[in-house]
Symmetry: C2
């Protein structure tokens, strides 16, 4: 009996079901899990991850894929799914179920060590678990294989085909231009954003966040938002996309732009082809493109003048005591203030890339083995001094600020920069697509993204999507133009 496409569908749906169950357990872990529930949750997650991996790497599935690939009865669309699944299968085969289980357990342990370290504002409790993850990641890189740098293998997990060298080159070009723009801005009178740091109650901020998500057309019948220590987006299918945010009562910016950032991720997940559940063409293209969506909504839309000219009354209604006396133009300037700072997620659009470059430098060395976990704090502080010219007063404001390493996400950070650069390039096309472009209504933006980004699922690489959507490869000039135009308005 020859294999059929519907056997493939049935099989890959099962794998997806188990993976998405694991994603729900993770979501619950960061939103509602009672403190003592951690221990067995880690074990439950490890079992699900191992089970999904075992199922996916079963030899019978490999035979099914190989046999279907040479079958003449498939449509081009079906064949594409099989091709990508086979690529995933061959890649997954390089890691054993036991390794996957071990990684899941170590990550869980490490995540809790990071939480502890954050509580104590001290890197030390995190050091050993982090080194353990790094060791596993080095093994993973070797197992997956690479041609020049072991770090390539890890970057490839987030953006297929992107290499250390490519990012090195990109950052080498971007860095001097960014620094000169930042220096130029520093010569102008600074804008005032102090009113964003007043008291804003948790309840009202929560409601405002929900309202803003509705205005960018996030579908609350197919998703929700909750509170977590660290904002993230996860999805269990296009009809169930979960965002989280955090609220600092003394900082309005934190919540608003985390909502818009995660909302951008959420719109992408809700917009993927829903009939392709569990299939490659129902998945996102790459993490770089995912971050292009979050950064586009957070910055290109969410820090634009026309979006806030339309939506400023919403903020004024929630917090009249502050905003009734402040113009939408002054608000726009405040939310675009450029100033070197300690925290990546709160950084302006220019210095943001310097935060990424620092992490990229550190990760390269950690994965090469030339830097050890114990030396991270000193090296971190040194790089912040060098690139951002600021002193890091403690670990929470320094090397403990990001959750990524505790999750084993090495190779991830660069995708934020790539995403921001892609976002500017996409946004340039969107802006030019209408004569009187205005972000009072964001529907045209969403529609463009739906047909040019979301609809492709994972059938194209980042570069291919970019070429198809904008007519050319990634080009940092779009970001630089976008930045020049914006900061000319902000700093005259």
């Amino acid at each position: 009996m020859p294999y059929t496409y519907s056997q493939y569908l049935k099989y890959i749906n099962k794998v997806a079901d188990i993976k998405f169950a694991s994603a729900l357990l993770q979501w619950d872990q960061e939103t509602y899990l009672p403190p003592k529930g951690n221990y067995f949750r880690a074990q439950q997650l490890a079992t699900l991850d191992e089970t999904a991996h075992s199922l996916f790497t079963n030899k019978k599935f490999g035979s099914l894929l190989n046999s279907l690939l040479s079958s003449s009865s498939l449509t081009t669309h079906q064949k594409k799914n099989i091709e990508i699944s086979l690529y995933d299968y061959q890649k997954a085969k390089k890691l054993t179920p036991a390794f996957v289980r071990k990684m899941s357990e170590v990550i869980n342990h490490s995540f809790h060590a990071w939480i502890k370290a954050r509580k104590e504002n001290d890197f030390s409790p995190f050091e050993k678990p982090l080194q353990e993850i790094i060791n596993l990641k080095r093994i993973e890189a070797d197992s997956l294989g690479y041609s020049s740098h072991p770090y390539d293998a890890l970057i490839n997990n987030y953006d297929k085909g992107v290499t250390t060298e490519k990012i090195n080159n990109l950052f080498d070009t971007l860095q001097p231009k960014l620094k000169s723009l930042i220096n130029e801005i520093a010569e102008h009178p600074q804008v005032d954003n102090s009113f964003l740091k007043r008291f804003y109650s948790k309840e009202k901020q929560w409601q405002l966040g929900i309202e803003l998500l509705k205005r960018i057309h996030f579908d609350f019948d197919a998703g929700r938002q909750d509170i977590s220590e660290h904002p993230f987006t996860t999805s269990f299918n296009t009809q169930d996309v979960r965002l989280t945010t955090r609220i600092d009562e003394n900082d309005l910016e934190n919540m608003v732009w985390s909502c818009l950032h995660e909302g951008g991720h959420g719109l992408y997940e809700q917009g993927l082809p829903s009939e392709e559940y569990g299939l490659p063409q129902g998945e996102y293209c790459s993490i770089s493109i995912h971050e292009s969506q979050s950064r586009l909504w957070e910055n290109c839309v969410g820090r634009s003048l026309s979006f806030w000219q339309a939506n400023y009354p919403l903020i004024q209604n929630y917090f009249p005591e502050t905003f009734s006396n402040i113009s939408s133009l002054d608000f726009f300037k405040a939310i675009n203030k450029v100033q070197p700072s300690l925290i990546r997620t709160e950084a302006d659009e220019l210095t943001y890339h310097l935060h990424i470059m620092i992490r990229f430098e550190l990760e390269k060395d950690l994965i090469m083995g030339t830097l050890k976990a114990k030396d991270i704090p000193a090296r971190w502080n040194e790089l912040y001094k060098k690139h951002l010219r600021i002193n890091v007063p403690n670990d929470n404001l320094g090397c403990l600020q990001d959750v990524h390493w505790s999750h084993g996400s090495f190779g991830y950070f660069a995708t934020y920069s790539l995403g921001s650069l892609y976002a500017a390039q996409f946004f340039n096309v969107i802006e030019k697509s209408s004569d009187n472009f205005n972000l009072a209504d964001t529907h045209p933006v969403l529609t463009w993204l739906q047909s040019n980004i979301y609809a492709h699922g994972r059938s194209l690489t980042s570069e291919e999507i970019c070429k198809k959507a904008t007519g050319e490869s990634l080009n940092i000039n779009y970001f630089l133009e976008y930045a020049h135009k914006k900061f000319q308005m902000v700093y005259n």
Copy 2:
């Protein structure tokens, strides 16, 4: 190589991990799932249920169990786990993974049909899915096997060894005594409970519920409470026990006694031996004993005078406008008002059993095939007229009120009555265990339950636990004595 106990532990832990993951997906479905997320959630649940069943019924596991059972190296305690696991294995083998998947899918579909029927206050949309479940349940009964009545096989899922005949006999004895007590009460002046139906805000009720759970020593570091359409308790291990409640702003009783009821379930789950994760001796004894715990805290504790003499100030503080002028004695009488009513979960402790007897009658006939789903509404209303002498005005207040059938829980209802009877018998021993017994402090109650009920896990049957804890088999006279004593106080 001979099999080892640690192989058994590793294997059965994996099965538990997948089962508890499924339980989390179900919990999420009833608490936080966005409306459109239902479709794929059903599929994800079916896959997890099928995967757990496949793993558990794997022949290799059967060989492992059989081999360990005849091994001489095990402790008595270890042997007990193996014995019960083998019983479960042999029982599970009677159902195929495909049947388990089918049941999971049909139940999910049926649950949503029930929700729809509830919204429309009309049984019809639920009729066909319910009949489909009943058909599957009849197949299940045949597969599992029974000696006299197919319903025995289903009751056995909730309380091992209990039969239709045994419950028939119990209800035949209980019914006339209950009815005569209810009639006797009806001749006395009725107590006033109208003040319980005033407006009580959602926020304050929520806080009050949490406070009450703390007072009965539910551990919020190892559990939580959320809102759902239908209150329930679920657990993913002793350190992560989840309760839900619902709040009706025009009825204080609904929330308070649902919290105490689910709290009783929760205390049991938190009190099970935590070192026995996934093992039979880490599981609850039976659903009857589980319900004895919920009913004990809900009624024997939660509707007692001494509990409320101590805790009444809490309610007075939350709602002074109502309760500052009402004495704790009048409050005690109000919450113990006996009156035939439509809704089981809101029924007093006496008429409650009549609600159960009606469901028991219906289920027997449904499983025998002598009653069809389409005939449920008429038969339901007829039985309510006969036993409670009330007219059922619509399906929501009648045959659509309980979620159980939509979950496929046939054979469950009788455990509520058995649980209430066990509760009274346990409580009798607890009361006698101290000279000045008083429920101002419920700690002694919890301690007694911990050593006499929780600690046994599933190593004893309901009857065995009862004998060990009280010195005799289930005896309905304890409940009747308890009821006489209480209602003498309420109705003089």
